[in-house]
Amino acid sequence: MVHHHESSEEAEKDPQEPSKRPKFSINDDVDILREILKRLDGPSLGVASCVCRLWCSLTRNDDSLWEHLCFRHVSSPPPPSVRPVVVALGGYKRLYMVCVRPVLSRLGDSDRVRKRVWTRHAVQLSLSLFCIDSYERRLSGDASASSLMFLCNPINV
């Protein structure tokens, strides 16, 4: 009881001087936060987006977080020409949610793929499906793409 009173007193005394506070808040350094979030897996990133407004806006708006997620299992990193294409077709977050995640889980389920290691073929196939998705959205004026419905149930991206 006394202890609690002390610390809240301390906080009341120095609210505007973070440098004097012994604790370090991760939210103070967005770059470090970004580096950490980059290394999370999909579900964890989803959970992270619910922590606070800063984390939520980062995960929602920073596409590079999702880029790492998309290709973390690839044996060799994709060539640099991939990025502008993915961005033009809808971004890494959409690529992950609509293509990579369901493809990974389907391939992981099947007997033929023991480990969850992406092959070149899987990457190419995902990108092709993503491109078809982007095209269908153009055709139908941004309604939910039906071509990838066979991959997963409709989700809110």
Partner: protein, 538 residues
């Protein structure tokens, strides 16, 4: 007669839901026959009598030895005497020979049928040498009731197939009256069968197609009976799109063809793709993306899309071209589109395509070449002239995807049999992919194909599918040489199927061509061709 359990009029105690065979309205059973253990609706008496007459005729006139009937007939449900007589009739009537695997109808669902069968109480087996009926102990009856549920449905399904074959046979012989009465019988039988899946559904479509053919008999080859088979271009595009979504056949076609085209375009900076049926252009985004990412950078891509003219003044071809151009621009691929509007592929002339000699040309035909096989005896078949001008363009590659079926045989009955088997398999595969809104429209797409194969003749019959072996011969004769599709295409196709996560599809390699099928029956075949050098042409 031995003792037997008397079926009560409203259905036995053990068949709870089986109050009547037709569901809601109570069946009025003929009282006299009911006393003998046979359940025949009063309304059906004349049909049963007709069939017994036919049976008598056949038995009397049959040259075959029918004494086996007395010794080893298995009778599944004597209450339904109409169907029993039918089965006997078709067994004795040997004019129609079925391929034996038609009887193993794929994947008949084990739908609970207790509310659709007349009664399950009586299960009779005609024993060795007597014509009377033995009774079974209650335990035996109980056991057999469990096994009889699915065999009743299979029985009805098999009966439907038999009747379809008989109807087609009578159509071929010109006996329209008999065919018409068979149609009525079949429609009656359909009420007893589950038409939302399995053989019931396919049979429904075929019965519909046959009745169109019979009752519009004077108009075959002209507008009216074929007008159902071909809708307006925009309707066809919508149905095609849903067929694309609902099952993997078109996706397999597109991905396999694209892979072959991509490999053929290796090292070329100016490439030109000619698409024989543009539709919504769903094949091309993936190729544009693959070209954008190819090592060395994308080439200049020209796409010429052929399609039917739009009736309402819109230029659908141009609209699709614009969307594709937008996509290409967003991924930095230099792109040019040209649309060629033609209602028939044979109306297209090579000068319309404006092929430049410096570019690498790919010709892409997804289920289009078979439409050129209509044989007008006064002229050279259209397929010859089209293949000749394709070859004159000297394409780097021609990708051909066709249905793997033999629906262009001269005899109607052969075509009908083949189509029944083929489309049953296809509907089965569709059932396993259950994307609801797409599935219904995809079924309409397939139904139109069925209608064209069954109802139409002459120039109206466009769906003249031929198997891969025939196409190989035809294309080789026309001066083409096969290109092997390669392991990349195979791996991609297998992976695509894994994503569909439906057990039952299989990709097979067939001498350099790939086929996609359902449970070891290939349904669609993809192959790649190149113009053979002159000295190889015999």
């Amino acid at each position: 007669m031995g003792s037997y359990e008397q079926p009560s009029a409203g259905g036995g105690a053990s068949s709870n839901g089986s109050s009547s065979s037709s569901g809601t309205r109570p069946a009025e059973m003929d009282g006299l026959l009911a006393g003998a253990g046979y359940k025949v609706k009063a309304a059906e008496l004349h049909q049963v009598a007709r069939r017994i007459e036919r049976l008598e005729n056949v038995m009397v006139n049959s040259a075959a030895d029918i004494s086996h009937l007395a010794s080893d007939t298995v009778h599944y449900d004597p209450a339904d005497i109409g169907s029993w007589v039918d089965t006997l009739l078709t067994e004795l009537n040997q004019t129609v020979s079925l391929p034996c695997d038609l009887l193993e109808l794929p994947d008949l669902p084990t739908c609970p049928l207790l509310d659709e069968t007349t009664t399950l109480d009586n299960r009779w087996v005609v024993g060795q040498n007597d014509q009377s009926h033995h009774s079974l102990t209650p335990q035996q009856q109980q056991f057999q009731q469990l096994t009889v549920v699915t065999s009743m449905e299979e029985n009805s399904g098999i009966r439907l197939v038999h009747m379809l074959m008989t109807c087609a046979d009578s159509l071929q012989r010109g006996e329209l009256a008999l065919a018409g009465s068979l149609i009525e019988d079949m429609q009656g039988l359909l009420a007893h069968v589950n038409t939302s899946c399995g053989i019931g559904k396919v049979a429904g479509y075929f019965i519909d197609a046959l009745s169109r053919r019979i009752f519009a008999a004077g108009t075959i080859g002209t507008g009216s009976s074929s007008s159902y088979c071909t809708g307006s271009p925009s309707e066809d595009e919508v149905l095609y799109h849903h067929y694309y979504e609902a099952c993997p056949y078109l996706k397999f076609a597109h991905f396999t063809a694209n892979q072959a085209i991509l490999e053929a375009f290796n090292g070329h900076d100016c490439v030109h793709v000619i698409d024989f049926n543009l539709m919504h252009g769903l094949q091309w985004p993936a190729l544009i993306q693959a070209l954008a990412l190819r090592p060395g950078g994308p080439p200049l891509l020209r796409l010429t899309g052929i399609g039917p003219p739009s009736p309402d003044g819109r230029d659908t071809l141009r609209e699709i071209g614009l969307k594709l151009a937008e996509l290409a621009r967003s991924v930095n691929v230099r792109f040019a589109f040209r649309g060629v509007a033609a209602s028939r592929l044979e109306d297209v002339k090579p000068w319309m395509l404006q092929v430049s000699p410096k570019e690498a040309v790919a010709v892409n035909s997804i289920m289009q070449l078979h439409r050129l096989l209509g044989s007008d005896p006064t002229r050279e078949p259209a397929i010859q002239s089209v293949l000749t001008w394709i070859r004159s363009l000297n394409p780097k590659i021609m990708t051909v995807v066709e249905q793997e079926a033999n629906h262009n045989q001269p005899r109607f009955l052969d075509r009908f049999t083949e189509a029944l088997y083929y489309y049953s398999t296809m509907f089965d595969s569709l059932e396993a992919c259950s994307l609801q809104p797409d599935k219904a429209l995809a079924e309409i797409y397939i139904q139109k194909e069925i209608c064209n194969v069954v109802c139409c003749e002459g120039s109206a019959r466009l769906e003249r599918h031929e198997p891969l072996a025939k196409w190989r011969d035809r294309l080789t004769e026309a001066g083409f040489r096969a290109l092997h599709l390669g392991s990349n295409a195979f791996k991609q196709a297998s992976m695509l199927l894994t994503l569909f996560s439906v057990e039952g599809y299989c990709v097979e390699e067939n001498e350099g061509c790939l086929t996609l099928g359902w449970h070891s029956r290939p349904l669609i075949a993809a192959s790649a061709w190149q113009a053979a050098p002159e000295y190889e042409v015999a």
